[in-house]
């Protein structure tokens, strides 16, 4: 899923304070200074963890949930077929499933065995069966649920193309413990990975159907747990006003029907309290000074500095938190010219853009689009890059930029065209600072620009995600994967088939027939290594077009109290995994 992340971004930055961190960088390959990766083993049982967040949960419905904090919450309350261990964001592990996924040799059938003995929490209380998973996925196609990724990842299931919430012929449940997906194309490997998303979390049809009949569905406010924790509810399962008060608080308590024997997660904590609302500035300080607290938001840069300098064990920089890049609109002049795009990329000082955000500690300089933790990252060149000359120098190469300008027909190495480029970036430091750096780079190359700095939802909703807005450059874009498969990073972002009139994810509007064909072939590739190879090659191709300029592989800082043994979810921006975290 793309930027913005669902965590509140800092509203300001003290650049001097942030820059001071630049000298305290870590090596490129470790997880950053501060607390380290943890698998949670040997934690202490008991206690209550309090999570402070300024932003409310967007949805409790596993059929709708898509934000990182929501995923953090739901990953402890429901069980998907497969999941990531907190310290391994690449290899899926059985969760509700009893064993690894079985993909048929032709890649068109996926068979999953489901554990026995997993029970729903109150008020359903019975054992989970394969039919509950079947219903969970089918309801994603119900217009009252309208799951955002169901058609993308489950669209190849036989019958899914016409699904509207009723039974899907290609999802079969021969017995209570087996679910079989029959596909129209050999995409079973991708589907297996996609089951880490909450849509595959079981939903009891006899309980949920009345809620799903409403438009929109109200099942989220009647969520039934299948994991170690649940949200307290009344007799009818209504969590509103019980365990969840919108915009104020949410409680997770132990699911009385959860059995440790059926789950690899230790679930040390007795309770997790979400305190919603308030200021990130204040909450961050409370977390550092207090007990039993974690911060659900992105910490402000001054807080990152304070934690790094005075409480290094209380901050974790999560690698693989996504990538940042700038998109150049390839559909309209002047950036329909590849040489001009490469000139901008060559001239851009990506090191300065990183420095303004805090230096090495906030991430590695990006040189292509697959990022650490995503399959295909190494195959595309890893941190060394793909080898293109216009991204070889992170601090920019003015001479090379001018060569590309001359190749585009501008003999003096500076643009002499008439149009004024529309540049739309994010308001608020440090994003606005990064936008201004790119804007200045364009001006140094002779472009006339008009820079607009707007709110994140406006940037995507009215400008960068809307082709008819004719924005030339969007500096503050980024992408977070849905799961480790590289298709989730490259396909929507650079495939010509994904250019939509609104909510367009292919921001540079790249529509290269050769790349589109390569993606179509790679979609059907079976096996993790084969897919890594195929998509790694595509990443190289995309990078070579210069349609977008990658500049940072994010490391997301996470802050917690001294008595919290936070086990970061590397697959989810380093949020403390509530089912593995404990109190010291």
């Amino acid at each position: 899923m793309p930027r913005p992340v669902k965590r509140a971004l800092p509203l300001f930055a003290l650049c001097a304070a942030v820059l001071a961190l630049g000298a305290c960088g870590s090596s490129n390959n470790d997880s950053g200074a501060g607390a380290t990766v943890d698998n949670g083993a040997g934690g202490q049982r008991g206690g209550t963890l309090t999570l402070l967040t300024s932003q409310d949960i967007q949805s409790l419905d596993p059929g709708i949930t898509y934000g990182s904090l929501d995923l953090n919450l739901l990953s402890s309350a429901v069980r998907t077929l497969y999941a990531y261990a907190p310290d391994n964001p690449t290899d899926i592990q059985p969760d509700l499933a009893a064993s690894p996924p079985q993909v048929s040799p032709d890649g068109k059938t996926l068979t999953v065995r489901i554990r026995s003995g997993v029970r729903f929490g109150p008020p359903v209380n019975r054992e989970v069966t394969s039919r509950d998973v079947k219903y969970a996925i089918e309801r994603g196609f119900n217009p009252n649920v309208a799951n955002p990724y169901a058609s993308t990842y489950y669209g190849d299931v036989v019958g899914a193309a016409r699904a509207t919430g009723g039974p899907i012929a290609g999802i079969k449940t021969p017995d209570d413990q087996t679910i079989v997906f029959e596909l129209t194309r050999p995409t079973a490997s991708l589907l297996a990975q996609a089951t880490v998303l909450p849509l595959s979390a079981p939903v009891p049809p006899e309980y949920a159907k009345p809620f799903d009949a409403k438009s929109p569905s109200t099942y989220g406010n009647h969520l039934v747990s299948s994991g170690p924790y649940m949200i307290p509810a009344d007799r009818d399962g209504d969590v509103l006003g019980n365990g969840y008060v919108p915009g104020r608080s949410l409680r997770l308590v132990r699911n009385p029907n959860w059995s440790a024997a059926t789950d690899d997660r230790p679930a040390y904590l007795n309770e997790v309290d979400f305190r919603i609302g308030g200021s990130t500035t204040v909450s961050g300080r409370q977390v550092l000074a207090g007990d039993g607290l974690v911060l659900g938001d992105s910490p402000t840069p001054p807080l990152v500095k304070k934690a790094y300098q005075t409480a290094r064990d209380q901050i974790f920089f999560s690698p693989g938190a996504g990538s940042r890049y700038a998109a150049l609109n390839t559909a309209i002049p002047p950036f329909d010219d590849a040489n001009l795009r490469k000139a901008v990329a060559a001239a851009l000082d990506r090191e300065q853009m990183r420095r303004i955000r805090g230096g090495k500690i906030v991430g590695d300089i990006a040189s292509h689009f697959l990022y650490p933790g995503v399959l295909g990252f190494e195959e595309a060149g890893g941190l060394e890059g793909t080898g293109v000359d216009f991204l070889a120098n992170p601090e920019g190469d003015r001479a090379l930029a001018e060569r590309y300008m001359r190749a585009a027909g501008y003999a003096d190495g500076r643009y002499t065209g008439d149009e004024t480029l529309q540049v739309v970036g994010l308001a608020g430091a440090p994003d606005s600072n990064d936008a201004q750096i790119l804007d200045q780079t364009l001006q140094d190359l002779g472009f006339k620009t008009q820079l607009k700095l707007v709110d994140v939802s406006v940037m995507y909703g009215r400008f960068c995600g809307v082709p008819r807005a004719r924005v030339h450059v969007c500096p503050n874009l980024g992408w977070i994967r849905d799961f480790a498969d590289p298709q989730t990073v490259l396909n929507p972002a650079f495939n010509g088939e994904f250019i939509f009139p609104e909510n367009n994810p292919n921001w540079p509007q790249l529509n290269d027939p050769a790349i589109n064909r390569a993606m179509a072939r790679a979609e059907l590739t079976v096996g993790d290594q084969a897919r890594a190879d195929a998509w790694g090659a595509i990443d190289r191709q995309v990078t070579a077009t210069g349609a977008a300029i990658p500049w940072l592989y994010d490391r997301q800082p996470n802050v917690f109290s001294a008595d919290v043994r936070c086990v970061p979810e590397l697959w989810n921006q380093g949020h403390c995994d509530l089912a593995y975290t404990s109190l010291k």
């Binding site: 899923m1 793309p2 402070l52 932003q55 409310d56 967007q58 949805s59 709708i64 898509y66 217009p143 009252n144 309208a146 799951n147 955002p148 990724y149 169901a150 058609s151 993308t152 438009s215 929109p216 109200t218 989220g220 406010n221 509103l240 006003g241 008060v245 919108p246 915009g247 104020r248 305190r275 609302g277 308030g278 200021s279 500035t281 204040v282 909450s283 300080r285 409370q286 000074a289 207090g290 709110d455 939802s457 406006v458 995507y460 909703g461 009215r462 995600g465 849905d482 929507p492 939509f500 009139p501 609104e502 909510n503 994810p505």
Partner: protein
Amino acid sequence: MAAYVLRRVLWGLVLLVLVSLLTFVVFYVLPSADPAQLRAGRNASPATLAQIRENLGLDRPMTAQYWTFLSQLAFHANLGYSYFSQASVGSLLVDRLPATISLTLGAIVIWVLVAVPLGVVAATRRGTWVDKLTTGGALLGISAPVYWLGLVALYLFADDIGIWPLFPGAGSYVPFTDDPWQWFTSLILPWIVLASTFTAVYARLLRGNMIEVLSEDYVRTARAKGLSERRVVWRHGLRAAVTPLVTLAGLDIGLLLGGAVLTEAVFGIPGIGQLNYQAIVHADYPLIQGTVLLAACFVIVANIFVDVAYAYLDPRVRTS
């Protein structure tokens, strides 16, 4: 008087309709964000986006959407449902109102109890160090942004992050019915912070008004009749000088009851202001409409009360 109040109430209803229409135009016709896109995320296909729009009723014509909203409100007292939590807007407002009322009323008490004596003393001791201190302090109070003041107050006095841990920190608010003592102590710092700007403004205004009133002929007459200075100042002078402040207070109270966003945000108080802010961030239009209408309601009602109080305080208004 009854006819006057009735006329004001009816006019208030007309104003509320206009406010709802304006809010609708701003957020529906000229939106800054699309709630369907926010809900869907970047990966959603156009078909999924269209489905979500239909779920939320956003695919219907603007006039139909507005009419649905207005008719539900007028005939069923229904403000609709939050796009995100599906909780009823009415229930969310009712849930948040006590916190905002607590915050507002406490701040009012403080700023009245402090501003009135300060203003009177500054006026009666013009040019002295008391006057200079009051004026300077008022300038500071007016200049200091509430958010900054709140942060400073927490960094100095909060029991979790403060240098001198005297008061409960941010997020410690509980309803009065849960724990009256904690309710009270958790609001002390927010009350002081919220009251500070108003205290400064009101003290300054009252000082100016008092100076003018104390030079009026009828005040000189009162003194000449042998009334004590205390009686002249507090009974005759203050009554006239405070009248314009009553109007201002009505407006301010009405606005604050609509939500003191910054104070609520800094101190983590779950009031209307925070609710409104969250609604705007999520482009949760029914909730935005609900909070805006509530704020407008408070301003209108407060103004009606102020007008009635003004008539009581100033006999000339009654006879006109």
